[in-house]
């Protein structure tokens, strides 16, 4: 089972069949989620219409953390089992995670200006999410710095796992220290503190973002596998021409 799923050919075959369905589901759930967030959800008693930024901001933050968690699991797969798909998954996840983190930071700043009175402060939550973005950028740079995919994957895996220490800091920053950012509203011990009419659109948007992340991640993995196939073919071709020139 494990070795069968480890086969890139198996992945290419099945992702090719399933991905159109995932793409279709993403569009449908996104359309539903956006309609619920922007037309059905009531304005907040304090924030008014500004609350609608949350329906983009919060799912982006979830995906930024979700993709990094997946990248960390893949990093262990690369370092320990040398799983042939693990480093492909890692490489495909980094730019996506960086994009979601950037969306999270920008929408947060746009919400912060009217609500807090400032775009940015250096509190523990905002700073740790900025660090997450910088780690994503560093990982992408390291992928490009080393030419051989195998060696690059091992170096990136170590950086990824060190950066994973930031994940609990982001999650619990609002509980461990006082911050300007509010504490968690959805995933908390005593249940959500968001009224259901606002929580359901948020959860649908969360599902839409998850489908979008998974779909784009699988497409990026396919692209990376094909890029590697071309690289191998180029090397073989160069060797063939080389041996002919020598003969």
């Amino acid at each position: 089972m494990w070795t069968k799923l480890a086969n890139p050919g198996f992945f290419m075959r099945w992702s090719g069949r399933l991905l159109p369905w995932f793409a279709g589901a993403t569009v449908l759930v996104f359309a539903t989620g956006l309609y619920m967030s922007f037309f059905m959800a009531p304005p907040d008693y304090q924030q008014g219409e500004t609350i609608r930024i949350m329906y983009i901001h919060v799912p982006s933050a979830w995906m930024a953390l979700f993709l990094y968690t997946m990248m960390s699991i893949s990093a262990i797969g690369t370092l320990v089992w040398r799983h042939p798909l693990a480093d492909v998954s890692q490489k495909a996840a980094a730019p996506l995670g960086a994009a979601f983190t950037l969306v999270c930071l920008i929408t947060g700043a746009l919400w912060g200006k009217p609500m807090w009175g400032t775009y940015w402060v250096w509190d523990a939550r905002l700073t740790s999410v900025l660090v997450l973005f910088l780690v994503y950028a560093g990982i992408m740079a390291l992928w490009r710095a080393i030419d051989d995919p195998g060696r690059a994957a091992r170096a990136v895996s170590i950086l990824t796992l060190v950066g994973a220490l930031n994940l609990p800091i982001i999650r619990f920053s609002v509980d461990w220290w006082n911050t300007l950012h509010q504490p968690a509203s959805v995933f908390r011990m005593d249940g959500p503190t968001i009224y259901p009419a606002m929580l359901y659109p948020l959860l649908v948007m969360g599902l839409a973002f998850a489908l979008l992340a998974i779909t784009m991640h699988a497409y990026a993995m396919r692209t990376e596998l094909m890029r590697r196939r071309i690289r191998t073919l180029n090397i073989l071709e160069a060797e063939r021409l080389d041996s002919r020139a020598a003969a």
Binding site: P42, P43, D44, Y45, Q46, Q47, I51, M54, I76, L79, V80, W81, P114, M115, W116, G117, T118, V121, D123, A124, L161, V162, L165, I169, W176, W177, N178, T179, L180, Q182, P183, A184, S185, R188, T193, I194, Y195, A197, M198
Partner: protein, 151 residues
Amino acid sequence: MTRKQRRLTLIGVTGAVLAISLGLVLFAMRDTIVFFRAPSDIAAQGVDEGVRFRLGGLVEDGSIRRETGQIHYFRVTDGGASIEVRYQGLLPDLFREGQGVVTEGAVDGSGLFRADTVLARHDENYMPREVADALKAQGLWQHGDPAPGTQ
């Protein structure tokens, strides 16, 4: 022990050591990582005149006083102690009695906190206006602040 088990152990041990050292660093820095200090802390520890810091808490009920030239006086409280704040400028929309705020500035000779920045703090509660009004009508309102439009 196979090579795979050895690699897994190495990663686990390295990760644990890194996590513990990071935890110790964050624990040692806990007083500087906090974004603001509460009035009770200031009352207990004292603070030198002219030293800049951020003061956070709730705007005390009935303490807001406005003067011409956009000068505002209000008291910031955390239930224990409270400090009088003077601020000149535009206040954020969410600013009102009972609202969480973070102000930045320094204490002057008379014990007045002269702030040059006032940020409103939002809490983790989200609800429609009708629900907030209904909760207030039933006397179940726990945030201690009037909903907008009623003051």
